[in-house]
């Protein structure tokens, strides 16, 4: 809900709007009674208020100022306000454009409501009632959106406010330059006022050089279709001016304004425009909008409360949902666990009473199976070697030693997790006299036969070292141990 106020000399119109529609409206005259009634009305209408002013005493000044920012800019504007509008609090400065050359100064439009006594009584009532006043706006200021679609760079907008009079606002390059209000008179109709004032305004613009010489002035006239038809017939034809007749009904449709116009009074266009898109700048200062700031803060707090509560409720709902799921799953898991336990118990009950727990039995048996793999019966070691020795009668065995050795390197295709048999054979060759070649061949053959049985054979000592690195001396003695040798055999079970 918004409270829209339309003030002009001697009259205040108030209307409460909700979602772009007028809920209720009242008229108040500029008199003690009217002000008292307004105060009474405000007690029940504590909504954000937008005060639209349409008075003659509004002044516009264009000024070029150095481009500044921050406190320097504020101080500069304040000096300008003091200079131009000393006697009023209701002033504002609008940046028209920044110059593109030179120092790139700012073209500013300074404006003010120069007769504060028209506004102050009503404003005081609102402040006394702690009404959240959003701002004080003027009709020329609100008019800009109504011409932004017009292609002309020199446009005069003419509107009729039934309680104020004929408003003529001039825009150059779609920027507000100047505005005039011709007050209402009992004998003056909209059409007459337009016809009599338009030529004067044209001359006025020319005299101020706001309208370049030879430039055609585009005139947009807002009014009811009946009045516009009459105006089309009565307005003088001239090369200096070009008319654009804007039907209020069409304009309202174009700006989504839900209002039925019965005459050429354009007040509702401006009020609806203000309600929908209030301008950023206005004539009210911080003291005037104090309660609006509080209202905004209050709303922000309420919004924060609501958001916090809703957010936490959603979060809690998610927690509850997750908790519910977990609880359901826990119940299902509990049932499964109980069923599995019963099953395990049933199996345990059927187990026979044995020497030891099954795991221990398995462990004991597994250890002994493994150790059994580590254990080799002497027959398994001696017999294969004996068999080969039987085939080599010229070899006589002196010593034989064997042991289990886990550190022995693992040969390909043998079991790695079983210790290897490591056998050391010491012996000598018989009956070879000095035929060393035959002796070595005989021993070589013996080694080959051992290797064929799967042994890794390493010669630790040979009867004669005929390798290039060996030393050889003549052998005249032919004793029993002249042809001694020593072999190392290693064997792991095959895979």
């Amino acid at each position: 809900m918004k409270l829209l106020l339309f003030l002009n000399a001697g009259h205040l119109h108030a209307q409460i709007m909700a979602h772009g529609k007028i809920v209720t409206q009242h008229e108040f005259s500029d008199s003690p009674d009217g002000q008292e009634n307004f105060a009474e009305f405000l007690k029940a209408a504590r909504y954000p208020a937008y005060l639209l002013v349409d008075v003659i005493e509004e002044d516009f000044r264009q000024e070029t100022v150095p481009h500044m920012s921050g406190s320097s800019r504020t101080a500069l504007l304040q000096r300008k306000f003091e200079q131009f509008y000393h006697g009023t609090l209701f002033h504002q400065a609008t940046l028209l454009q920044r110059q593109k050359t030179g120092r790139r100064d700012d073209d500013m439009l300074f404006s003010a409501l120069t007769n504060p006594s028209l506004i102050k009584p009503w404003l005081d009532i609102m402040l006394a009632q702690q009404i959240p006043l959003a701002g004080i706006y003027s009709v020329p200021q609100i008019s800009a959106p109504l011409v932004k679609d017009h292609p002309s760079n020199h446009l005069l907008l003419i509107s009729w406010e039934k309680s104020a009079g004929l408003r003529q606002t001039y825009f150059s390059d779609h920027r507000l330059q100047i505005s005039r209000l011709t007050p209402i008179r009992a004998d003056l109709t909209f059409q007459n006022a337009v016809i009599s004032e338009l030529t004067r305004t044209y001359q006025y613009l020319k005299s101020l050089s706001l309208l370049p010489s030879g430039q055609t002035l585009d005139v947009r006239l807002l009014g009811h279709s009946h009045d516009l038809i009459e105006l089309q017939l009565e307005l003088p034809r001239s090369a200096d001016m070009r008319y654009d007749f804007a039907d209020l009904a069409n304009l309202a449709k174009q700006h989504n304004i839900d209002y039925r116009f019965t005459d050429s009074d354009a007040s509702q266009i401006f009020l609806h425009q203000l309600a929908a898109r209030p301008p950023q700048t206005h004539y009210a200062n911080a003291a005037h909008t104090h309660y609006f700031t509080l209202w905004q803060l209050k709303h922000a707090l309420n919004l924060a409360s609501g958001t916090l509560l809703i957010g936490c409720l959603l979060w809690s709902a998610a927690n509850l949902w997750q908790g519910g799921n977990d609880a359901t799953e826990a119940k299902s898991l509990q049932t499964q666990a109980q069923r599995t336990l019963n099953e395990a118990q049933q199996i345990t009950l059927t187990l026979p009473n044995t020497y030891a727990p099954a795991a221990d039995m398995k462990a004991g048996v597994s250890i002994m199976r493994k150790l059994n793999q580590h254990d080799f019966a002497p027959s398994g070691i001696l017999r294969p070697i004996s068999t080969i020795l039987d085939r080599h009668p010229q070899i006589e065995l002196d010593d034989l030693a064997w042991k289990m050795d886990a550190a022995e390197p693992v040969a390909p295709n043998t079991l790695a997790d079983v210790p290897a048999q490591v056998i050391t054979i010491k012996g000598h060759l018989l009956d070879f006299a000095n035929d060393y070649r035959a002796a070595l061949n005989y021993l070589e053959n013996f080694q080959r036969q051992l290797a064929a049985q799967g042994y890794q054979v390493t010669a630790l000592a040979k009867p004669l070292d005929v390798s290039p690195s060996g030393s050889i001396a003549d052998r005249r003695e032919t004793g029993k141990h002249a042809l001694d040798f020593s072999l190392r055999l290693s064997l792991r079970p095959p895979l």
Partner: protein
């Protein structure tokens, strides 16, 4: 924008609303969080219960299978007195009986104190400690076959498990003399017993 004390009455309900909203939010968040945490813990606990039950079932099934597979063999180990404490008297009696059979010309033995045995390569021993009592044997032999006969007898006639780890056979210099040993042998190994740590 400056605020004064007189602004507070205008704002009090909004300020109270924010406070109340924060309080209510905290309470419902805390409560729902507690509920969710408790439900999560319960689910976690029941999941653990189920895992435990599954482990028990798997153990029971494994036990059932192990019983069928290992009972007979384990019974034999008990019968062989491999499971339990050292049976040194049995070993001595068994060795003396073998001596009386004259399978070798002579032999001497020496059993060392028991110790914990770590097989190489290592073997997983479960609840068992593998005990090892080292026994060294010295033989006088006429021929190698006597050694084989001795160990066959040791394996078949003495209760226990003798793990033979190595032997050295050496031909003596006085070979050929009547009634003299032809080969001297030294063997080493140990008596293995398995002692369940859980059974005192």
């Amino acid at each position: 924008m400056k605020f004064s004390k007189s602004d507070f009455p205008l704002m009090r309900w909004s300020i109270l609303a924010v406070c109340a909203s924060a309080l209510i939010s905290a309470i419902i968040l805390y409560s729902s969080g507690k509920y969710a945490e408790s439900a999560r813990n319960e689910r976690h606990n029941t999941q653990n219960m189920l895992n435990d039950a599954r482990t028990r079932l798997a153990t029971a099934l494994q036990d059932q299978q192990n019983m069928a597979t290992y009972t007979g063999e384990y019974g034999e180990l008990i019968g062989q007195k491999i499971i339990g404490d050292d049976q040194r008297l049995d070993w001595m009696e068994g060795l003396e009986k073998i001596r009386q059979k004259n399978l070798v010309m002579d032999f001497r033995y020496n059993i060392a104190p028991q110790k914990i045995y770590v097989p190489q390569p290592p073997v997983s021993s479960g609840n068992f400690d593998i005990h090892y009592s080292e026994m060294k044997l010295q033989f006088d032999l006429l021929h190698e076959e006597q050694l084989l006969d001795f160990f066959d007898a040791l394996r078949s006639q003495v209760k226990g498990w003798y793990q033979l780890e190595g032997c050295t056979l050496q031909r003596t210099e006085n070979a050929g003399t009547a009634a003299a040993a032809y080969i001297k042998a030294e063997c080493h190994g140990g008596w293995i017993t398995l002692k369940n740590r859980k059974i005192p």
